[in-house]
């Protein structure tokens, strides 16, 4: 017998012209349940959430809340019905103060401050939203959602790139909602989180819900196989080659680097053919470190040596000339949305004035095709890169450097928000680069990835290198401890 369901989504479908985003999706959430919504990028997850939160309307199917049929015409509508979403990009207006943001959404200030206090955070309501760092902003968005006392909280991948302490707070909040008899739809790619927190999981694939089950035991394999379908080629990526890097040359050395808001004193080195992992809580200075190495920002003090020579970068082109290429954490800052895959992949070839002349089509075709093959980029949506799935877009971002060649690839959280299958491909790609004698500096917010892909790892805490760990010592526990500033055996 169907108990009293809080939310029932029945046979919902949505198409954009010839593109079918949702074929026939069903989802049932009970009161007091934490329900995981899983699926590869392109499976229909974000479309389903958009329909549920009133951002778009479905073509067919219906949604019922507490047994009553509902149709949401706007986010405001959905919110009034007790559905509160919190997205990866906080829905706060950047140029106006928090106070005015709250007034805009009709949020009770007292209630909001109480929720924020419970998270252990304090903010000045007169602060302009754009001046607040992303993790705090996400928590503010969450606090705002909670102030409206939602029946159903939808968290769309917000634990990604949250420091571990705040991520824990989010989990606490989810459990608190559950105790109150409210429900949460939790979207995440972090299987460990899902296993430990959620009661139920629904997996979407190709616009259909393919599996829905209780999450009370080892569910990782069931989830992954549901997401990937028959072509279950989840190989164990623990195939790091055990070459010895002892005699390899040092290609990059960083000495006492400081700058930006958080980087105080970082020193480390990378050898040729080495994959060096970087683990850190949010805001420990690692993003500025990457920006400095990419040539995008200038350090306050310290030295960078490439192949033994001190260098100074005034422009990303300087770094690229020395073989250092950057794959930024935010895909939007690396891709040209309206241009084709080819133009995006070939962009790096037009760096210098010498390349302003006629394009040699044959050469370009060769290198572009090489990159597409090497990265297994799905070229069906040829015309505009903005139509690609997140995973494909990430591959194009990496592929731009495959066309030009590089010695050191700076990857900042490359697998953030990407489906499991593509993540796998990226891990293998990184190992392939290493085998080819290239180096990779990899920052990831998912600690398990370090053991999967790296040869060694450094942990940054409060702008300094807290630990330098050989791969055997890179257990998630060790990394987590070091990330919190604790001393670990090295």
């Amino acid at each position: 017998m169907t108990q009293d369901l809080l939310l029932e989504i029945n046979s919902v479908a949505k198409s954009y012209g010839p593109v079918i985003a949702l074929k026939k999706a069903n989802l049932s959430v009970r009161p007091g349940e934490i329900h995981a919504l899983l699926g590869a990028n392109g499976a229909g997850k974000s479309t389903l959430v958009k329909i549920l939160t009133g951002v778009i309307t479905s073509d067919t199917g219906h949604i019922s809340l507490h047994g009553k049929n509902v149709q949401f015409s706007s986010p405001d509508d959905a919110r009034k019905n007790g559905i509160a979403p919190v997205f990866q990009d906080p829905a706060l207006i950047p140029d106006i103060s928090l106070q005015r943001n709250l007034a805009l959404t009709g949020t009770n200030e007292k209630r909001f401050l109480a929720e924020l206090n419970a998270m252990g955070l304090k903010v000045n309501l007169n602060e302009i939203a754009a001046n607040i760092e992303l993790p705090t902003l996400r928590m503010i968005d969450l606090a705002r959602a909670l102030s409206h006392d939602p029946e159903l909280l939808i968290l769309d991948e917000i634990t990604a790139a949250l420091p571990i302490d705040l991520a824990d707070k989010v989990i606490e909040i989810m459990n608190a909602q559950k105790k109150k008899g409210k429900s949460v739809v939790f979207i995440s790619h972090r299987l460990a989180e899902i296993e430990s927190i959620c009661d139920w999981a629904t997996v979407l694939r190709d616009g259909i819900d393919v599996d829905s089950f209780e999450t009370n035991k080892e569910i990782e394999e069931r989830i992954v196989s549901a997401m990937l379908g028959e072509k279950n080629n989840v190989t164990n990526a623990k195939h790091r080659s055990s070459r010895s890097l002892k005699n390899a040359a040092t290609i990059l050395e960083v000495v006492n680097l400081s700058g930006g808001k958080n980087l105080t004193d970082v020193s480390f080195e990378i050898k040729k053919g080495e994959v060096l992992g970087v683990a850190a809580l949010e805001g420990q200075g690692q993003d500025f470190l990457f920006e400095i190495l990419a040539g995008q920002s200038k350090p306050d003090s310290g030295q960078i040596l490439v192949n033994g020579t001190t260098v100074l970068f005034n422009h990303p082109a300087d770094a690229i000339k020395l073989g250092i290429s950057y794959v930024p954490g935010d895909r939007k800052s690396a891709l040209m949305p309206q241009r084709s895959i080819r133009e995006n992949l070939a962009l790096t070839r037009f760096r210098g004035l010498a390349n302003w002349g006629r394009i040699k089509a044959k050469d370009e075709n060769k290198t572009v095709d090489n990159a597409v093959t090497a990265l297994e980029i799905d070229t069906r949506a040829k015309s505009q890169v903005k139509r690609l799935s997140g995973g494909n877009q990430q591959k194009v971002t990496i592929g731009r450097w495959v066309t030009t060649g590089f010695d050191l690839l700076l990857c900042f959280d490359p697998t953030r928000g990407i489906d499991v299958g593509t993540k796998q491909q990226i891990y293998e790609l990184i190992r392939k680069f290493a085998d080819e004698g290239k180096s990779v500096l990899l920052f990831t917010s998912e600690l398990r990835e370090i053991q999967l892909t790296c040869d060694r790892a450094i942990v940054i805490y409060e702008g300094k290198v807290q630990a330098n760990l050989e791969i055997e010592k890179c257990s998630e526990e060790n990394l987590m401890n070091a990330a919190h500033g604790l001393v670990v055996a090295q």
Binding site: H315, S333, L335, P337, R339, L347, F350, R351, I359
Partner: protein, 319 residues
């Protein structure tokens, strides 16, 4: 031989066909009302008159592809014509060189301000426009004192036919430059970079592109195109004045928009602009033919731009 093949392989999209249809429709309508229009000499004159607008619109196209705009283009055009006429006693060729120098100077200031100082192109070119008006108004009575008419040879050339009707020198110049621009935009690295920085300048920079260089080049090319257009306008009318190219400024932007280039940058092409230019030129002829009052002309002009832009917007939304 292969370069000619490259010229021909410019992709033609649905919207281009729509524009061709509109142009042909307007042409037939005008011919219906004024049978004289349906003749080779008339077509020739139309093309010749469209050429300066086509050149100014070419400059706007490249600016708008980078996400910018040049509101000083009319003054650059007029200024170039002025300088050419003032310097003409020194010889026509030298005068043209001075004009080119002026364009490169102003274009460089615009381009470097946008590229290196991060100035918003709307405001920068607006300010430059005011500065140029001031400079030339003052200059006319002082350091720019000189002849106020274009050199003989340019006047003759601007109004002469080239070999045979409907070809004329302005048309040929427009065709050659237009072809060059199409080549640059579609087949060269510079063209790719123009689209790239218009679509996402930050991404281009991270990929190692010196964005400011591309912007500098963009505004200089734009200014040069405007200068050539201004010289032709001056030649066609015979006299120069500060307000020479003012009637062309807003239409130059309109032609680009009608042609399908987004004002936000990153998408569009010059082919559309060419068609937009021809459509606006035929439209002007049509309005002049039906002898309407100035008021009606303005209203219809505005309505047509709105209708075309709206139609185009709906077409691209549905694709």
């Amino acid at each position: 031989m292969s370069t000619i093949k490259n010229f021909a392989t410019v992709k033609v999209s649905k919207s281009i066909w729509a524009l061709v249809g509109i142009l042909i429709g307007l042409f037939l309508l005008t011919s219906f009302i004024d049978p004289y229009f349906f003749s080779i000499p008339a077509v020739g004159v139309t093309f010749a008159l469209a050429a300066p607008l086509g050149l100014l619109a070419a400059g706007q196209t490249i600016c708008m592809l980078t996400g910018g705009i040049d509101l000083s283009l009319a003054m650059i055009a007029a200024g170039a014509a002025f300088i050419v006429s003032v310097k003409s006693p020194d010889g026509t060729f030298l005068a043209l060189l001075w004009g080119a120098f002026f364009c490169i100077l102003v274009g460089s200031i615009n381009g470097l301000a946008v590229g290196l100082l991060g100035m918003n192109p709307l405001i920068m070119t607006l300010g430059m426009n005011a500065v140029l008006i001031g400079v030339f108004t003052v200059g006319v009575t002082t350091f720019l004192k000189g002849s106020s008419s274009m050199p003989e040879i340019l006047v003759t050339a601007s109004n002469a036919t080239f070999l045979f009707d409907p070809l004329s020198w302005p048309l040929v110049i427009w065709a050659v430059i237009g072809g060059l621009l199409l080549f640059v935009l579609n087949k060269t690295g510079l063209g790719r970079l123009v689209y790239a920085i218009g679509d996402n300048a930050q991404a281009a920079r991270l990929a190692g592109v010196k964005v400011w260089q591309v912007q500098w080049a963009t505004y200089v090319i734009c200014a040069l195109l405007g200068g050539i257009g201004g010289v032709i306008i001056g030649g066609q009318s015979g006299a120069v004045a500060i307000s020479l190219a003012n009637p062309f400024l807003l239409p130059s932007v309109a032609a680009v928009v009608i042609g399908g280039t987004s004002i936000m940058g990153g998408t569009g092409n010059y082919t559309g602009t060419i068609l937009g230019t021809l459509i606006l030129t035929v439209l002007s002829y049509l309005l002049a033919t039906i002898n309407s009052s100035e008021a009606v002309k303005q209203m219809i002009y505005g309505a047509i731009i709105l209708v075309l832009a709206w139609t185009y917007s709906k077409i691209s939304q549905n694709s």
